[in-house]
Amino acid sequence: MRLKFRRVLHMVSLLGIFSLFIAPIPSFAKHEPEAPGLELARQAVKAEKRPTTADHSQFKALQQAFTSGPEISKACISCHTKAADQVKETLHWTWLDPNSPKDNQKGKAGYSLNNFCISANGMHDHHCNECHIGWSAEGKKTQIDCLRCHGQKKINWEEVFEDYKYFMQSNDPEEKALAKEAQAEIQEAAQSVGRPTRKNCGSCHFSGGGGDGVKHGDLDPSLINPNRELDVHMGYDGQDFDCIRCHTTVAHKVAGRIYGTPASQTRHSLLEHDMEPRIMCESCHSDKPHKTGGKLNDHTDKVACQACHVPEIAKVLPVQVWWDWSRAGKKKEGKPYEVNGPLGKPAYQSTRGETKWKKNVIPKYFWFNGSIQGVTAKDMIDPSKMVKLAWPEGSKNDKNARIFPFNVHMGKQPYDTVNKTMAVPLLSGEHGYWTTFDWKDSIERGARYLDLPFSGKIDFVKTGYVFPSTHMVSPKEEALECHQCHTRHAGRLADLAGFYMPGRDRFKLIDIAGWAIVLCSLGGIVFHALGRVFTNGRKKKE
């Protein structure tokens, strides 16, 4: 009894010694911060929003009677003397990619095409110019509209200026009073200025492509007042970030990708370089955002944060996924018409063709080095293939490329069958396609604005367009689980070839041979065992 007890004691102490050696692995991890990147991010949001030292309603320049928008901008510039020069350097004003070749310059004012309203025809399509930051649809010919980005009070400027001018001319005291009221409204709006909010940026970026959520999937009006579920950073019940919290701005240059130029060439955290823009997730979260000791931090060199943390887009409002221009132009009883489809969105419009919409879209995944390239109006195309008007650059072997989620929009657009180039129809205005429903005429006019040839012969070709899904970051509980990619069947990365991924990939031959060996030995055992049972039985009889 005593001996046995001692033996058990020995066994237990041996186990104890062993566990001493084995235990260090988890206990090392305990001494490290829970997640290095989380700590960093918390520090980055410790301070409240930047305070302001100016009350704009006190400024004499903003207390004068304004009769037009440009007058307000002049008042702004009278104090912010460098602002106009700065703004005119930026993409927001030029609509031209400064980093692309001059003879085939990208940008809405250049030769860029998109999957929606196709081309801005060198800013001659006035409908497109509604989103230009000038005071009128005349594009760059007008004064900068400072309030587009800085105005905190949205009013109908055109109407209120018209009212003011009309009532001012009157001698009727009642109408004079109305003029005074209009001017008070103008002044109040002019004085309500501040740093851009989600509403300011969203007035264009949430409704690009001619409507709410047409384009991005991760940017739509639901982000004006989102909850934490929708976007963990912008949520009013979360960090309540404005866009510029990450799209940091220096001299009116807003951080972000410009066509082929990545938003940032580095992935430094603010601890490494405190003057870096905060545009990358790593800026605040570092490249070790997860708890140490696991495998997650080992992913950040090849997998973008967004790939797991933006598991779904168009979470509240639908996003357009298909726009077929080849179906446009049909009429009912000689008149253009519309057919409403599901999700409260049009399925057909004579002016635009067939469109499809989707909610809760699962992104597509590509290798992405931060650069997006696409066919311009000057480039030759191969009409037998889908024409990539915007497509991610990067490959598995590209050191700067990581797996990134995208919203992919497909469509059909007219092209010049002789010149083998995409066609650039003028859409709005009295000669635009939306009025004339004449492809040839509208394309000829559109091409002339860009100084491009047009043969007069068109057909339609399939086009593709991507938007990186980087907003609508879900709370961490909703991030992708490992098995959503690391799975044999229908994982999120099922189509991304060229590398070995555990759980998804295998060597079929090795697997077959391996199982064959295992099964053969099992079979052998069964035979052997049966043989023993049988012969032993015989032996007993002897």
Binding site: L3, R7, H10, M11, L14, L15, F18, F21, I22, I25, P26, G294, K295, D298, D301, E481, C482, H483, H486, T487, R488, F499, Y500, P502, G503, R504, D505, R506, F507, I510, D511, A513, G514, W515, I517, V518, S521, L522, G524, I525, H528, A529, G531, R532, F534, T535, N536, K539
Partner: protein, 227 residues
Amino acid sequence: MQSIKMVTTYLYTRYERFWHWLQMVLIFLLLITGFEIHGIYALMGFKKAVDIHNFVGITWLIAFAFFVFWVFTTGEWKQYVPTTKKLFAVIRYYGYGIFKGEPHPVPKQKGAKHNPLQRLTYLSLAAMLLPVQMITGILYWTYNLWEGWGLGFLSLQFVALIHMVGAFFVLTFVVVHVYMTTTGHTIFAHIKAMITGWEDIEEGVEIEDWEKASRRGVPEAVPAEKG
């Protein structure tokens, strides 16, 4: 058939038994989680499987270091020295003689517990298969550090392939090994020996010179009559 007198002998020391069963648990866990990671089935989820697999793998590595220490300091390594002598006799026994009730050509003895087939198998296992699994496992685990270690030329695909081949060999070994435990003089004799350390072995069988191992650190055989 003349009956052979059996004598109960202390064959496996405490550490040896502990090592055996610890290794059994670790291998079992590694196989279960490993095949899940490989995408064969979904049991505990990929993340948990990876976490367990990595933790158990490292644990095994540390435990294996103790085994290597033990095997050399006790001279037990001599029991793993391979030989072809009587190898074919043993193979013949398991393939034929066992059915005829023939005696084992190389019965277990203290100081020579492994027959030539076992020597070969366990040596291949301890000196080749397991180290290969450990090395490929560590490489797999440290994938992100290859660049810094100057191992950038390696491909995960290759490492995964070797690790997978090894896994199938380990599984095959386990299957056969478990079956072979039933080939003692009773079905559970070998298993019982690995639990208690005591096994009934044939009396009076001489250990041949080539089989001899230093028995330093191993208790002298105690006669069957225990307190």
